[in-house]
Structure formats: structure tokens, C-alpha cells
């Protein structure tokens, strides 16, 4: 399968990156003991955008610190990064800030989507919320990111999130294509966004 856009899931362990992918790709929510991802898992998912089909290649990475040294190979050349944090865990937001900084430093062309997870917990009990919606919104604006609060359990905002990713990719891909036609800027430093490791597919 040809992959159009590389999308990477980043965030602290157990915030629910795998559940988000699972909900989006397989339309299900698995209840059961928490199982951490080992290394990373890759899924390709075609998605309809207007009259076009865009295939997202989603990298669901492990949140464990053990795999941090590997993380660069997963986000390099990514067109979108879903930086996830758990709405009921303030330390996971700190971790999200770390990933944002990392992306800003290493992958400037990667669109960032700030994604709060487990909103069903908050809906059940408001006192569980540790990350204020407006604080997160402000942070998202500051870094030029889109902001979503999602629940993989209920499916809230999940399809919308990935739809947005695909739409934004689609419109910017068009821009880049027209930009390319105007000629090559030799002064421009070697760019990473035309490079993805999906080439050989």
C-alpha cells in the first residue's frame, strides 16, 4: 500500500495513544489490563478527503522512556504528530510539552495536533480534570497547533481528529507541489519534509 502521509503518535506512556489508533482504525475500544506498546506499531489507513483518498501511515510509538532514543526514526519526515496527554494527569502534559519542543527543534514542517485523551473520565467526574481546556488551548495557539479533546472509549472527536489531519495534509500537499514548480531554491537547506521513509513502498 502506498502511504501518502506519515503520522506519528507521541506522548507519555499510558495516555492512550494505542487506544486512539485502535478506535480510529478498528472502531473499537478494548477493555482489559493496560498493555504497553513494545517499540512501535505501524498501521496504514486510507481516508476519504473530498474526492481524493489519502492514506495515512500511522506510527503508534511506545511511551516508555526506554524507547526514547529510537523516537527520532518514527517522527522523522512525519507530516503530522499527534501529541497526546491524559486530561486527568498533569505530568503527561509536561511530557507533551517536551515532545512539542523536540518536534519544533527537529521537524519544523511537521504539523502538531495537541490531543487530550480520556475525556469520558472528565465527563464522569469533573474533579478529575487536571489540565484546563483553556490552558491547553492557549498552548496550542502559541505553538500553532490544533487542539482536540478526545475519548477513545466513546469515540468523541476521534474521527474528526484524523479527518482534520488528512484534510490539512491534502491542502498543504497541494501547496508544496505548486511551490516546487516555481523552481529550486539552492540556498534552502536540505529539507526533511520531502523525505519520508515510505518511499520504497
Amino acid at each position: 500500500m502506498r502511504v501518502d502521509a506519515k503520522v506519528v503518535m507521541l506522548g507519555k506512556e499510558s495516555v492512550g495513544k494505542t487506544s486512539l489508533v485502535e478506535r480510529y482504525v478498528h472502531h473499537r475500544f478494548l477493555v482489559g489490563p493496560y498493555q504497553n506498546t513494545i517499540g512501535a506499531a505501524f498501521v496504514a489507513k486510507p481516508i476519504q478527503v473530498g474526492e481524493k483518498v489519502v492514506t495515512l501511515g500511522i506510527w503508534d510509538t511506545a511511551g516508555s522512556e526506554r524507547y526514547e532514543a529510537m523516537s527520532r526514526i518514527y517522527y522523522r519526515g512525519a507530516r503530522a504528530a499527534l501529541v497526546c496527554y491524559d486530561l486527568s494527569d498533569s505530568s503527561s502534559f509536561q511530557r507533551a510539552r517536551f515532545w512539542v519542543k523536540e518536534l519544533q527543534n527537529c521537524e519544523e514542517h511537521c504539523k502538531i495536533y495537541l490531543c487530550g485523551t480520556k475525556s469520558d473520565l472528565i465527563d464522569g467526574d469533573r474533579s478529575l480534570r487536571q489540565i484546563d481546556y483553556h490552558d491547553a488551548q492557549d498552548f496550542a495557539e502559541e505553538i500553532g497547533a490544533q487542539h482536540f479533546e478526545t475519548s477513545s472509549k466513546t469515540g468523541k472527536n476521534v474521527d474528526e481528529l484524523f479527518q482534520k489531519v488528512a484534510e490539512v495534509y491534502n491542502s498543504t500537499a497541494f501547496q508544496y507541489m505548486t511551490a516546487e514548480e516555481t523552481g529550486v531554491d539552492l540556498g534552502q537547506k536540505k529539507d526533511s519534509y520531502f523525505y519520508t521513509c515510505c518511499h520504497n513502498n
Binding site: 506512556e13 498493555q35 504497553n36 513494545i38 517499540g39 498501521v43 522512556e65 526506554r66 505530568s91 509536561q94
Partner: protein, 520 residues
């Protein structure tokens, strides 16, 4: 199952168990044909698949040797590892308390309770600075004083330029394994020998190394002696938990061998050659598993896999549902191959609900899409052939009944071919089907194994009468055999059963073993 033309069939007429073709050429003068390494039932017909650890003794010697070699490797550690480590070290300033995945394990056991004390096998891993890293039961935090005593014992004896190996007291055995920068301690209530228990601790050590590499471990502790390693191991505890369960239940870990899915040779050969055809430059090992059974294994020429490494892969795949979500891509260190670096494994199931899991081990961490392509090619090739259907059929009967052997008193057995590193064993009969009974039988096998491989007085032959079963164990240069009979049987009967069983295994070896391992 025996419709295929036999490549090497035993000749019954002269009472020999050796394959006819070999008997004539190489082993004609052998006093006990068939019992010599390389000609026993199940022996591979080409080169072996695994690192050749001929016996348990070799394996242990090898472990010692390795330790010394590792030291040398570390001194000349590569820049590549350095680069990865920088990332780790830089991150150290974000101090977070050990987090939820730890608590999510059912470990809230009170370490001062009687229930905690009465566990049969405790395993602790600590750093040389005396920080708890892993405990099988309870939480690490609650154990700091216990761990303090352990490390005090180790360093007290070390101060006298000695090494503490074990303490025996009041039915307990406390076994120490010092593997700088880690110390592993086992506290057991069992009659297994120290050596066997040490082997179990070694497995745990290798499990940790396979996640981090020894180079990384050394680097971390050189920089920060009191580093809390649980931060890096967070979320992997269940791998160690599972490995400990396997050590109690899986005969493969006891025998230092792996078992194969029973499959007609014709089908296995097609599966193997399809896998062999799907090669790539950096691909070192392709492993196809069905649950805990090996379907086939292809390796790069001259590169061998050690059964410990293979068991670590089995444990990784068997412990996690993570690889069902998509195609997995993970760094993995195969410690018996090289403790200094990571391989990168592409792990995926052939079909969503399938038992068949394909593991492609590459040396390059950028190789994901190449490996993914290899898998696709393998599947395409395989789907075109009837062998895939035969393989799926074989999955429905992954084991066989001991009744097939035709020895009424025989309840169960383990047979290991030493030269191929493979073993075969029937399913557990009705009376051993519960977890407790299975573990009890495995315990009996472990005792026999301890006796046969006793460090100073090894036995080659052992018969034991019990109230609930009679047991016979026999080790030759070619095989290891453990039999479990009904308690009504006699010794003479048991001895005659051996010959009958060996003949049966010889007859079935095409199906039960991988006789022609392939390489790229």
C-alpha cells in the same frame, strides 16, 4: 503424515535406530548406533540451527566465558551506542516518580505478610548500589531494607575477595548471581540444585539485557551509580513475570531447546523455502512461530541463534498483545548473540486472528519498510501454495496424544535431540491437565534434570518410583529423555519402553522436528 518419501528411515530389522544412509557411511563402527550425537532421532541433516550448546554444562561454561568477553567488548563500545545514550542521559533531569504502569500490576501485596513470605520462588534484581530494580512479588519500594541486607551480604563477602554463591537455611535456598552492574538474588523453597536456580536467574538477567543492552546498562551506572533503573524498565515488568512463569512450566527452558509445530515435511519445506526467498540485505533471522512452537527458522549463513535468545523472543511475542494492533517494530538485543547492540525486529501476525507470528530480525533500524515488504512477499508466495492450507490445518492439532506411541503405561515424555537443539513432547494427559499438576510434573522433571546434570556426580540414567508416577530419565551424547509412567509399571517395562519410544520418534521425526534448516 508418513506418506512422504522418507529421507532417512530407521531400519528395524537389525535393531538399529540410526538412519540407514548414515549408518552405512559414518557410524558403521559405532557401538550404540543411533545414540551418538548427530544420528539420534530428530538430529538435523544439515548444519544445526542454533549455537551449538551441546549440554547444560557447556551452556554454563559458556555463560562464564561470555562474562569475561563482555567486559572487553564494553571497553571498546561503539559510537553508535553513545549517540543513543546521550538522549537518555539528557533526559535525566525530568524527575518523575515511578508511574502508574507499575501500580497497575497486581503487586499491592504486603511484603510483611505471611502470604508474601510463603511464595515458593522469589526473585529480586538490584543495582550494585543497592537500589531495588525488580521483585517478583510486592513492590520494590517496600523492599529497600531487605535489598539493603542482600547487598550488604554480597559486598561483605566481596571485601574478602570472595564471591557469595548461595545460603542454605531452614528449607530455603538463597542464590546470588552477580552480573555487574546488576545483582540478582533468588530466594527459593525447592529442592532444585543451586545450579538450576542460577540458570533461572541468568534468564532474568538476559531478559533485562535484551531490553537495554549491556552497554547501555554499564553506561548508565557509570554515570550515575544510584540511578533508578525502574524508570527505563517501566512497562516491561510483565515480560519478566511471564518469563518466571515459563521457567516453571515450559520444558523448553529446562531442556535448553525449543519445540516445533508438528507438520508434514512437504508443507514445512514449502513454508521454509517461501520464507527463504523473502530475503533482504540486512535480514539476519526470519522466525515463524505458532504460539510457542517453531514452524521454521531461516538464518543468515554462519549466523546462529542461541536458544536463550529464541526463548526471549518467544517470551516477548507471547506476553504481549501489542503486535496484534499492526506491524510491530522494536529494538531488541539478543544477548547471547551480542550484548552490546540492538537488532530491530519486525513482528506481525500473518492474519488478524491467526496464531502464526512472523519475526524478521534486521540489523538496520531504518529497515521497517524493507521488512514489511519481505513479509508481503512471503505471504504472497505462501498463499499461492497448498502448503499454507496444510499449515493452517496443522494449527488445529498443535500437539499429539501420547497414546499414538502405543505404550499403555507411558503417560508423558520429553525428548530432546541434542544436535538439533529441538525437543518434542506430547500434550499433557488428563490427570496432568490442571496448572498445579502440570507444575508438579515439571517439578519432577526438574529434579531429574538436576540429578542428571549434577555438577560433581552427573548421572546418565535414573529411575524413580513414586506414589503417583514412576519416572525414568536417560541422557546420552545424542539425546536427553524423560519419561513418566503410571505407578503400576515396572522398571523392566520402563526400559523396554525407551526403545519402543525411540523407534516411534524416529518414524515421526520428519513431522516433529525440523530436519533441514535453511539459510539465506
Amino acid at each position: 503424515m508418513d506418506g512422504e518419501a522418507p529421507r532417512a528411515r530407521a531400519s528395524w530389522e537389525n535393531g538399529s535406530l540410526a538412519p540407514v544412509d548414515r549408518l552405512r557411511t559414518e557410524r558403521a563402527d559405532s557401538p550404540t548406533p543411533g545414540l551418538v550425537e548427530g544420528t539420534e532421532p530428530g538430529a538435523g541433516q544439515k548444519s544445526a540451527m542454533f549455537v551449538h550448546a551441546q549440554s547444560f554444562e557447556d551452556l554454563n561454561a559458556e555463560v562464564e566465558k561470555d562474562a569475561r568477553r563482555d567486559d572487553e567488548v564494553d571497553r571498546s563500545e561503539g559510537e553508535h551506542a553513545e549517540e543513543e545514550l546521550k538522549v537518555l542521559v539528557r533526559e535525566e533531569n525530568i524527575e518523575e516518580p515511578p508511574n502508574s504502569p507499575l501500580e497497575s500490576r497486581s503487586k499491592e501485596e504486603d511484603v510483611s505478610s505471611e502470604a508474601w513470605r510463603s511464595h515458593r520462588k522469589h526473585v529480586f534484581v538490584l543495582s550494585e548500589a543497592g537500589k531495588p530494580i525488580y521483585t517478583r512479588y510486592g513492590t520494590e519500594e517496600a523492599l529497600s531494607s531487605t535489598v539493603g541486607v542482600m547487598i550488604a551480604l554480597v559486598s561483605f563477602v566481596e571485601a574478602e575477595k570472595n564471591i557469595i554463591r548461595s545460603i542454605h537455611a531452614d528449607g530455603y535456598k538463597v542464590v546470588f548471581l552477580s552480573k555487574s552492574p546488576l545483582v540478582l538474588v533468588g530466594v527459593y523453597r525447592t529442592c532444585q540444585s543451586d545450579k538450576e536456580l542460577l540458570r533461572e536467574l541468568q534468564y532474568i538477567y538476559y531478559q533485562i539485557v535484551s531490553l537495554l543492552t549491556l552497554t547501555q546498562l554499564n553506561h548508565i551506572f557509570q554515570h550515575k551509580q544510584n540511578y533508578d533503573l525502574r524508570r527505563l524498565l517501566a512497562g516491561s515488568e510483565y515480560l519478566t513475570d511471564n518469563l518466571l512463569l515459563r521457567l516453571d512450566r515450559d520444558p523448553g527452558l529446562l531442556l535448553s531447546a525449543v519445540t516445533c509445530l508438528p507438520l508434514a515435511t512437504s508443507a514445512r519445506d514449502v513454508v521454509s523455502s517461501s520464507l527463504q526467498a523473502a530475503k533482504a540485505t540486512n535480514l539476519v533471522f526470519s522466525i515463524l512461530l505458532a504460539g510457542d512452537q517453531l514452524v521454521t527458522l531461516i538464518r543468515k549463513k554462519d549466523q546462529f541463534l542461541h536458544h536463550i535468545d529464541l526463548h526471549l523472543v518467544f517470551n516477548l511475542v507471547g506476553s504481549s498483545s501489542s503486535f496484534r494492533e499492526g506491524e510491530g517494530w522494536t529494538p531488541i538485543c539478543l544477548p547471547k548473540f551480542n550484548t552490546a547492540g540492538f537488532f530491530h525486529a519486525h513482528i506481525s501476525y500473518l492474519e488478524p486472528a491467526s496464531q502464526l507470528c512472523l519475526i524478521l530480525v534486521s540489523t538496520d533500524r531504518e529497515d521497517f519498510f524493507n521488512m514489511s515488504d519481505c513479509k508481503k512477499r512471503f505471504l504472497e508466495r505462501l498463499s499461492k501454495r497448498s502448503a499454507y492450507q496444510a499449515l493452517k490445518e496443522a494449527l488445529k492439532s498443535p500437539s499429539y496424544s501420547v497414546a499414538q506411541v502405543g505404550i499403555p503405561e507411558l503417560r508423558h515424555f520429553l525428548y530432546k535431540s541434542k544436535s538439533s537443539g529441538l525437543y518434542t513432547s506430547p500434550e499433557f494427559p488428563v490427570m496432568y491437565q490442571s496448572d498445579e499438576e502440570q507444575e508438579r510434573l515439571m517439578g519432577l522433571y526438574q529434579d531429574l534434570h538436576s540429578c542428571l546434570h549434577h555438577p560433581t556426580r552427573p548421572l546418565s540414567y535414573f529411575y524413580r518410583c513414586g506414589e503417583t508416577e514412576n519416572l525414568l530419565a536417560w541422557v546420552t551424547s545424542g539425546f536427553e529423555l524423560y519419561l513418566c509412567f503410571s505407578p503400576l509399571g515396572t522398571k523392566a517395562l520402563a526400559v523396554s519402553a525407551v526403545t519402543k519410544l525411540l523407534k516411534w520418534i524416529r518414524k515421526e521425526e520428519d513431522r516433529l522436528f525440523i530436519l533441514t534448516p535453511l539459510t539465506y
